[in-house]
């Protein structure tokens, strides 16, 4: 049962990722694209955790932690660039 639910969940998350990619391509503005990228990062967390459950291993968990701790820095840098140009000043 878990396996089925897992597959359904993975399918939903992957579909979500596809939609994010759609938004990324569609735009229309730069913030939309960054938002899509940011969301993709969060989807990636989900996918990594789902992978861990599928494989029954916790070896990939830290990758998810890494995204949670650091992933937003990229978004912040991009947003700051769009607004301010200079990221570190």
């Amino acid at each position: 049962m878990i396996a089925i639910a897992l597959n359904i969940t993975i399918a939903m998350v992957v579909l979500a990722a596809v939609l994010n990619v759609y938004r990324l391509f569609k735009g229309p503005d730069a913030p939309d694209r960054v938002l899509a990228l940011d969301t993709l990062y969060i989807n990636a967390i989900a996918l990594i955790i789902l992978l861990g459950i599928t494989l029954g291993t916790r070896m990939y968990l830290e990758a998810a932690i890494l995204i949670a701790v650091m992933g937003f820095v990229g978004t912040v840098a991009m947003a700051k660039y769009l607004k301010r140009g200079s990221v570190i000043e």
């Binding site: 049962m1 878990i2 639910a5 897992l6 359904i8 969940t9 993975i10 399918a11 939903m12 998350v13 579909l15 979500a16 990722a17 596809v18 939609l19 994010n20 759609y22 938004r23 569609k26 229309p28 503005d29 730069a30 913030p31 939309d32 960054v34 938002l35 899509a36 940011d38 969301t39 969060i42 989807n43 967390i45 989900a46 955790i49 789902l50 861990g52 459950i53 029954g56 916790r58 968990l61 998810a64 932690i65 949670a68 701790v69 992933g71 937003f72 978004t75 912040v76 947003a79 700051k80 769009l82 607004k83």
Partner: protein
């Protein structure tokens, strides 16, 4: 693994997947940047949260002790997601992106 745990896992997984998907649908379908901003910051965050809980339960019932590290992921996500949203909203307002018709109030630029 107990049936209860199994059901919990299944439910959590499905909720998580569903919210993630809904967030993405929102991102894809909502009409302007600011409305789209809502999808990821919450629906997706919640979705990931649910999946994380599923994982916690799953690994806690694996017979190798508890698995709680995942909780931190949620904590970090809750800390950082609003910042991303805030920064992006600021950028969008700065760039003066289109706002959907019927929006009350105005984004301001300082």
């Amino acid at each position: 693994m107990s049936t209860l745990a199994e059901y919990t896992i299944v439910v959590m997984l499905l909720i998580g997947g569903a919210f993630t998907l809904v967030g993405a649908i929102g991102l894809a379908r909502l009409p302007d940047f600011f409305t789209r901003l809502h999808g990821p910051t919450k629906a997706t965050t919640l979705g990931v949260g649910a999946i994380i809980l599923a994982s916690v339960v799953y690994f806690s019932f694996q017979g190798e002790g508890i698995g709680i590290t995942e909780i931190l992921i949620m904590a970090f996500l809750f800390m950082t997601a609003p910042i991303s949203a805030n920064m992006l909203a600021k950028a969008a307002m700065h760039l003066d992106v289109d706002v959907m018709e019927g929006t009350k109030g105005n984004p301001w630029e300082q």
